[in-house]
Symmetry: C2
């Protein structure tokens, strides 16, 4: 037994994940997602196909993991000085990103190769974390704030439902109206 | 040209659809859905595989169509004498059916092989039709009623979001609380 192994298993595992994810993104942008196969991805990533099958099971589960990584927010929600402004800006951006073609494709991929619903849960956790940050800022300002579950139910869920199930044009100002409605009845700002 | 064709194209088309849908349901219940293939389904339905490919494109699109047929409500919502009671009973049944394993699998199938979002739209239309019936009954009784879009956004969407994205236990009495919240602020019943 060597006291200094050449590679830590965790380190190698993380590198494999990164190179495989990168290979998926590169191949997808070069030749479209319908052309993706495990052997192609493995060749680009410099691993064997069996490494991919062992780790992800199949192509759908790999694509689900890649999609969840892409749905991860890149930054904290901007601070616009009030709960209403912060939530409105966040919801408008969320709706714009998720209803665009890449967002819809990532949502679909995330849900698809997800036998234990872990990736679906991760998508929801991203929204929960962003909203919790907005709420804690509001509380810091002395504003009255609803709880995060209320905002998931009445702001996030309606947007996701329309994106997935109602291929009609969205009502104008939809995100803003949902936020307005969710904050209604909270009373005036405490000062 | 014969003035009396032996089969009307619409008639044959409807028979093919029915026999293929039936074959999918039978094979699925006999040996599970992971064993389904187009050649197996074609053999059971008494059609050629190319008939299936021509009509549905691939297995996913066929399974999406079958799923939408299974998600179609079998009867009108029951009349319990008031808007609140009708909506609560409908929402509770919807949540129970959609959150059970078969319901979740049908939702997933419906969304998956659905390139033009037509099947996703059909799922949503089923809910809209059921709710519109409940609302028109309420109006007939002289009750104040919200519009159908409000109920889609604040009753149906939160249930579907939790079913799809939040693999945690649902809050107790979730459907009833969503309905209560959606009807809040409508004022007393007009008589």
């Amino acid at each position: 037994m060597s006291p200094k192994p050449m590679t830590r298993p965790g380190g190698r595992s993380a590198r494999v994940q990164q190179s495989v994810h990168t290979a998926v993104r590169e191949l997808e942008s070069e030749s479209g997602r319908d052309t993706l196969t495990v052997p192609l991805i493995a060749a680009r990533a410099g691993v064997t196909p069996s490494t991919i099958y062992r780790r992800w099971g199949d192509l759908q589960e790999l694509l689900s993991d890649v999609a969840v990584e892409r749905l991860r927010p890149e930054s904290a929600p901007a601070d616009h000085g009030s709960l209403a402004a912060d939530l409105t800006a966040w919801a408008e951006q969320f709706l714009e990103e998720m209803s665009a073609d890449p967002g819809r494709a990532y949502i679909r991929d995330a849900l698809l190769g997800d036998p234990d619903s872990g990736n679906a849960g991760a998508c929801s956790d991203y929204a929960v974390e962003q909203i919790e940050l907005i709420l804690s800022r509001a509380v810091g300002r002395g504003e009255l704030a609803p709880d995060v579950e209320t905002l998931i139910d009445h702001v996030v869920a309606p947007m996701m439902y329309r994106i997935q199930f109602r291929p009609h044009p969205m009502p104008q100002d939809y995100a803003r109206l949902l936020v307005e409605n969710a904050l209604k009845g909270l009373g005036p700002r405490r000062t």
